[in-house]
Structures are given as C-alpha cells and as structure tokens.
C-alpha cells in the first residue's frame, strides 16, 4: 500500500447527501477479478450517457476536476454495499482523500485498506471546504496527515482526528495482515481457550 503523508491536489465538490456505493461503482464492474482498472467506471451512471459519451455537467468531466485527488461529499458518504470496488475505483481514478460529515462504516474501513484517507469534519467545515472546492480557479487543498490538518486555499487550516493505528498504517503504508500475523501467538492462545470453553465450534462444522 502506498504511503500517505502529505497530499496536495484538486478537490472536487459533490454537494449531495447519501452518495451510495452503487453510485460510486455500478454492480456490473463487480465482475472483475482485479483491483485495478476501475477508475474509468467511477460514478459511471452520473458521469456518462448510456452511449458512453460524457455528461458535461458532471463535476469530474470538467476542468480542473478531471484530475481531482480529493472529493468533498455530502453526509453519509459510501452508504450501501460492502464492495471494496468503491475505494478501488476512487484510487484508480486518482482520489486519495474523501471529506464528509459522516461515512458509512464499511466504506470507511475499506478506504484505509487502500491508502485512501476519509476525513470527518463538522457541517460548517464541510460547507467551507465545499465552497473552496467550487472555486474552479483555485480548488486545491493540502491534506497533511502528519500534522492532521487540511490546509485551505486562503491559508486557513482545519484540524481533524484519526485513530492512531489507522494513522500509523497510512503514514507508513503498512499492510495490517502482516501486523496481525506478528500476534499469531495470541491468536493461538485464544483458540486454545475457546476450544475448551466452546468445544462445539471446533467439531460441528467439520463434515
């Protein structure tokens, strides 16, 4: 996983609540066996006509937002399915950070596994960032994960919170499976105890 320390890039405003995972990546593209290549289908039904031509009004079809690295979205971003194809599509498009007032739990978890930083801010902060991003002359934000700050075009900064473990994994691009496997001894101990306490869990399913 790629490290995430400091990111400067165009932020695209998507002032819409409940942007669900079906909107982010329609189900037909769930039939891939790869993680890559989904960027061109990101927000497909909002982004393209049925004949494949671009919808000119859609934000990611406009300059400079075609190169967006950050998305500013409305409340309850990523609701719906567990498909990791949603963050895969964002990442493949080039988006490394999504900012909203709230995220659906599974989508939020999935982002971190792919080096994408989802940031929760207050409603007032979101409104300010939405306005910043809407200025197509200068929609660039800097996300500083070391300092835990969002730096706005006017020089002001908004601070944010993140659990330390998630932050550490992003900063160093760590694979959490590798980290968990260093705790194999604890997992062994847990299984031995569970086998004594709930023996049926270790026999019933074995047919």
């Amino acid at each position: 996983m790629e490290q995430f320390r400091k990111l400067t890039g165009v932020a695209a405003p998507m002032d819409m609540i409940n942007i669900d995972t079906d909107k982010i990546i329609p189900k037909l593209h769930l039939r891939t066996i790869k993680r890559t290549g989904l960027g061109k289908f990101l927000f497909e039904e909002m982004r393209y006509e049925t004949d494949g031509s671009e919808k000119p009004d859609f934000i990611l079809n406009k300059e400079p937002y075609r190169n967006a690295k950050i998305i500013i979205g409305g409340d309850n971003f990523g609701c719906g399915s567990s498909r990791e194809h949603a963050p895969w599509a964002l990442l493949d498009f080039g988006v490394r950070c999504v900012i909203s007032t709230s995220f659906a739990d599974i989508f939020y978890n999935n982002c971190f596994k792919n080096g994408i930083l989802p940031i929760r801010v207050s409603k007032d902060e979101l409104d300010a960032l939405m306005a910043d991003a809407s200025d197509s002359e200068n929609p660039e934000l800097t996300i500083d994960l070391e300092e835990m700050l969002i730096r706005r075009p006017n020089g002001a900064a908004i601070s944010f919170d993140l659990e330390e473990f998630r932050r550490a994994c992003l900063l160093d691009g760590l694979d959490d499976i590798g980290i968990t496997m260093t705790k194999n001894a604890s997992i062994d101990t847990f299984e031995e105890k569970q086998k004594r306490d709930q023996p049926w869990l270790y026999t019933a399913a074995a047919e």
Partner: protein, 468 residues
Amino acid sequence: MANPRTLFDKIWESHVVSVQDDGSSLLYIDKHIIHEVTTPQAFEGLRNAGRKVRQPEKTLAVIDHNIATTRGGVVEEDSRLQIETLRENVAAFGVQLFEVDDPRNGIVHVIGPEQGFTNPGNTLVCGDSHTATHGALGALAFGIGTSEVEHVLATQTLIQAPAQNMRVTVTGELPFGCSAKDIVLTIIGTTGIGGGTGHVIEFAGPAIRALSMEGRMTISNMAIEAGARAGLIAPDEKTFEYLKGRPMAPTGEAWDTALAYWKTLPSDEGAKYNKEVTIDISGMDPKVTWGTTPQDVVPITGIVPDPKDAETQGERESMERALKYMGLVPGTKMEDIEVDVVFIGSCTNGRIEDIRQVAKVAQGRKVADSVQAMVVPGSGLVKQQAESEGLDKVLLEAGFEWREPGCSMCLAMNVDKMEPGQRSASTSNRNFEGRQGRDSRTHLVSPAMAAAAAVAGHLKDAREFLQD
C-alpha cells in the same frame, strides 16, 4: 453481579484477542462465508504474500451473485470467470464449496442459517453488507470489504473499533396483511439510513419476539439499510427449535453444552444502550418506498411526498433528485403507480415463508398482462420445500416465473435486470439509483405486496387479496 451487559457486549468481549492502544480490538472470527464476487482479489493477495488460510474449516463458500436463475441460463463471460476463479481458489486453499447444482447452494445469507452454520454467540463475517441477516440468530454478523476477507482468511481475526449499542424496541401486534418487511421499512423510515451508523442495532420487544425466524432474518437483514454495522436479535426457544437438527448445528452432548451457553447470551436486565428507539406497529399499514433510499417509506394508502415539506435544503434537493429519477409527481396516490416488473426473492425475502405469502395472494388469480413477475427462491432447499407444498404450481398457474435460486434481480449483476425506465415492485433491500439495472426504478415492498402488484399491474394494498 457484574455490570449488566448487552447481547452485543457479551459476544464482543468473548472474542477479543487483544486490545490496541487506540481502543480498537483484534477480534476473533468464528465463521466466515465467502462468495464469488468479493473474494478473487483476497485469494490473489494471499498468493502474492505466500500466505495460507489459517482455519479453512471455518470458511464456507457459495456461488450466488452471478449465477443464472433459469436452468442452463446465460452466464456472461466475466461472471463465468469469477465463478471459475472461486472454484480454483477454494480447491487450492482447502475451503468447502456448495456447487451451483447442489441443493444446499443458494444466497449466502439464506444458507448460513439454513445449514445451521450460523449459531448464537458467533462472530460471523462475509464480504457482503447483508451479512447482518445472521444477527437474527443472535450472532454478531457484519459485512466486510475484500481486504478484510483476506485478513480473516489469513488470521481468522479482524481489527475492529468497538461499536455503540442501539436498541430498537418494537411493540404492538402485527396488523393483518403486514409482515416483517413492513416492520423493518417502518424502522428505517423512522431512524433514517444513517441512524444506525457506528452502532449495532438490537431489535427487541414483543413484536420481534412474536416473529418467526424467517421474519426475524428479514428484519436483521436490513439493519445495514439503517446504516448499522450489524443487527442482533436475542436467541430464544424459537431460535433453538429452528437450529436443532440442522446439518452443521452441534449434536448430542455438544448441543446441550452449546444450548446452555446460548441461554446466557440475551442482554442483562438494566443493560445500557447509547441510543434507543421505540416503535409501535399497532394500526400500521403495509409499506412501500417512493424514492431512491430505503428510508423513503410511505404507507400504501399514502401519496408521493412533496419536497416542499423537507426539513433541510440538502433533504429537499435529495428528494427532488429522487422524484426525477423515479419519474414521480408529488401527490400521486401510491396505488396509482403502475409497475412493469415484480421481483420476489433476495436475502431479505427469499425464504419459504415469503413464498407462501406470495402463493396465498396468487392462488386463483393471474399476473397482469403488462407485468413480468418472477419468484426466485433463496436456496435449493427453499425451492424443494416450496415444490413439496405445491407452491410452484400455484405460482406458475397464476403466471409467475418460478426460477432457480440466486441473488438475481436484487442487484442485477447477472442477466436478470430491468431495462432503463422500467419500474418494479421488489422484495429486495435497496432502491438505489441503478440498483436493478441502469435507470430502473424500484419500489421496495413485502412479498404479499409484491404479489398484489403483480396481479393488479400497479402498486396495490395486499390486504384486499388476503381477505379470504
């Protein structure tokens, strides 16, 4: 006595392997179900890192999302590749798979309980958001992404931040013509689709206790539509009765030991919840959605709402967008909305009780000429059961299609999908834009309501057809 604990607290605490400095836990996972769509990249990750599946016997594989629901029907090339990839992966890593033609195969969340794989007190995960279904048996069950599937395969654990406790208490008696689906749509209409975010919802109260296991699964299934991480229902005699004798449930002495443990699981008197909602279902009318989120719920006797009545600007814009997408005008009577397609099935409503309800409405009636109506059983065993009761004949006689089990038109990633502009009454769980096919329009309803819409050709109060 120690502090009173909730059902969630008890399951969580008994599965913590270790706690990290920031409060998140390494949580042990007892049961893992996988399917073809959200696993190829997980197995690829294991291969690339040279890792094994830690406990292959704790994972069960099914094929459901992509398969054809007609015998010998079309499976498109990329779907076929995905299914083939699953077959190769389970063979290479030693995981049990139910093959497509095995009667035990079916929708992942139908077969877990049906096989007795899901037990009270388990932690259970699957790369699918409707894993919440299994909470109906008192298991802590939640949907995960593909990276987490890989994490579970490699370590039989997950890193999880603790959830908050929420309780939804449902009181009153289920009115005539209503079902578990109407209850859960009412709940989501009340809490909103973000109302459960960060929480595990325990569904409680006399109206939940009165439901069958199938009904409870319908409720818990849609916990995710309220934004919750999981749904939970305390196990009771009905749960134990349901599980006893199922192929993967404990037997003999192991059953007795397990049962004694399961009985300790229900929330203690005085346990604390971070959030509480109480809903009285007395006098409730059958429900139907009008918009593009599952919280957009009105009674079938109601009308399409007006965005002018929205409380915030964000909500108004969202309603306007939904109405435009749905092709609806505020003030229209719900019963006047014509449908083209009726879909009955899914992990929400693909069980035997659901099909019995549909047959009750269908008996002696005909599907309207303008409607394509399909019934897709949730598993091969549900299909066999329905056929042994003669329900397939009733349905076929009435003009419904009787399909093979699978996810089918619930998410339309197989060949079962609607055409742009078509409108459905559907027993599935999501009415998002494009969910059942690009530019298709979905109204979520109960099985009886879906059957009534098939017969009437428009959304219809099922109570009229259930009188006799």
